[in-house]
Amino acid sequence: MTRAGELIVVACAAVIPLAAHHAFGGEFDPYRPVLLKGKVVRVEWVNPHTWIHVEVVKPDGSKEEWMVEGGSPNSLLRRGVTRDSLPVGTEVVVDGYQARDHTLLRANGRNVTLTDGRKLFLGSSGPGEGPPPDAAPLDKAKTP
């Protein structure tokens, strides 16, 4: 592949939201886009998907608590993320689509960012890949 071809591949991969492990298209309604701005009130750091609860203040002053579906928390842990990385009160911006059942205040976290657009959870340590087989011995490669 040419360099130009490589760049196209990279560019495309960078803008296509990544697919998840279940039927997102079955769960969420493409005709109900949402943009949620609010404070984190609770995070369920659980599998198969993390749920971030966000309190949104509506124009009339009333409040709604939305649940935003994220990915599996396991990979985040390996990037150095803990419960403390997203404390209650953090202001976030979420774009996504509401659940097909509109009685549910649930949306997919197509993009979850801080108010300045930084993607959550990133900028910490690198991904926790295993070492190459010829690497120096690990201190604790074995389980206890």
């Binding site: 039927a23 949402v34 659980v46 197509r110 657009g117």
Partner: protein
């Protein structure tokens, strides 16, 4: 190409290095290595291993079996670049996504998935015998799963409505042609139901899912070996030096018995059910795995699968399992699996809307 970005990505990368095949995949020749041993004298295979890799199961048609160091470095740098781009900030003042969908296809179903920060698809090609491999499959020599038998093609056409355990992802409802695919929870893929991981993570054979949650832990005693798969928390217990269970006893991950051949643990698995159907196989699937410690921080995992009702010959793959200091985070999938309920609710609403039209 309907199985998510990772597969697309690896296909494209594999195509990038496609060339006339001049070399066949060499068989593994493990270097002399004195592994640590258990009290019974057998090698100690215990540890936690990270199966994430960029090496796809199947090689691109016509590609070489082994990547040069330069090719591998370039492709690994591309993968790192893709990840870095995905991690970049976007506007905090952005608008809601487009009404009618964001154009994402496949399982993202027009509503998108989530950011790269959640994912861990692998960053390097697997190294076996000092070679960067372009596929896990080494036999057939073209690195491809053998074609289905005519019988299997006929059977699979009839079973198209039923997702297999290794279905990478479920389908977008817009693309879902199987009637009744959303009728009840049991029609949904096993991964979506928190029963087994997708991509044959539990196996056998245990394969990378090229997505996330790639850890496997081995705990070993004289009488049994336990292989814990992070996703979806599947524990397979291998009974050592035992006979297989009677044929009427069937298990989703099969019945695994093991023995030692020299310093390799050989695990033989039969007695599958028809609920998993690895790559469309029948319950008579037979999997033979070989675990060999090849260094202080690595196992070589080699597997052969056979099912004459599905493929006209057995096929074999191998890849390195590098040890990791990371811990397995308990999967506990059911307790917050709101998604499955939401998906089924969505299906009922779509049915109601269709009736009203």
């Amino acid at each position: 190409m309907s199985h998510g970005w990772t597969r697309i990505h690896t296909d494209i990368l594999a195509l990038a290095i496609a060339a006339p095949m001049w070399a066949q995949a060499p068989l593994s020749q493990t270097k002399p290595y004195a592994p640590p041993r258990m009290a019974d004298g057998h090698p100690d295979l215990q540890g936690t291993y990270d199966l994430a890799t960029l090496t796809p199961l199947e090689r691109a048609s016509g590609a070489k079996a082994v990547l040069t160091k330069e090719e591998a470095a370039r492709l690994e740098a591309m993968a790192a670049l893709v990840r870095a781009r995905g991690d970049q900030a976007i506007s905090g003042e952005r608008q809601a996504p487009p009404k009618g969908g964001d154009g994402s296809t496949g399982p993202a179903g027009g509503v998108g998935g989530y950011n790269t920060g959640w994912l861990d698809p692998g960053s390097a090609y697997t190294i076996v015998d000092g070679q960067k491999r372009s596929s896990l499959i080494v036999d057939p020599p073209d690195g491809r799963v053998p074609p289905y038998t005519p019988e299997a093609r006929k059977r699979l056409a009839a079973l198209a409505a039923r997702p297999t355990s290794d279905a990478q992802e479920s389908n977008d409802p817009g693309l879902e042609t199987a009637p009744g695919a959303y009728d009840d929870p049991e029609r949904r893929p096993l991964g979506e139901r928190c029963l087994l991981g997708f991509g044959s993570t539990s196996g056998p054979p245990a394969l990378p899912d090229y997505f996330y949650n790639n850890l496997h832990q081995i705990v070993q005693t004289h009488d049994s070996v336990m292989i814990l798969t992070e996703m979806v928390h599947d524990a397979r217990v291998v009974r050592m030096n035992a006979a297989h269970l009677p044929g009427k006893i069937r298990m989703w991950m099969g019945d695994s018995v093991g023995h030692w051949e020299g310093d390799s643990l050989v695990v033989d698995t039969t007695n599958f059910t028809d609920k998993t159907r690895f790559r469309g196989s029948t319950e008579n699937l037979h999997v033979i795995e070989r675990f060999t410690r090849v260094g202080p921080n690595a196992l070589l995992y080699r597997f052969t699968v056979e099912d004459p009702a599905t493929w006209d010959r057995p096929w074999t793959g191998e890849f390195t399992w590098p040890a990791t200091n990371s811990h397995i985070y308990e999967y506990a999938c059911h307790e917050a699996n709101y998604a499955l309920g939401d998906i089924l609710r969505g299906a009922r609403l779509r049915e109601k809307e269709a009736q009203q039209k």
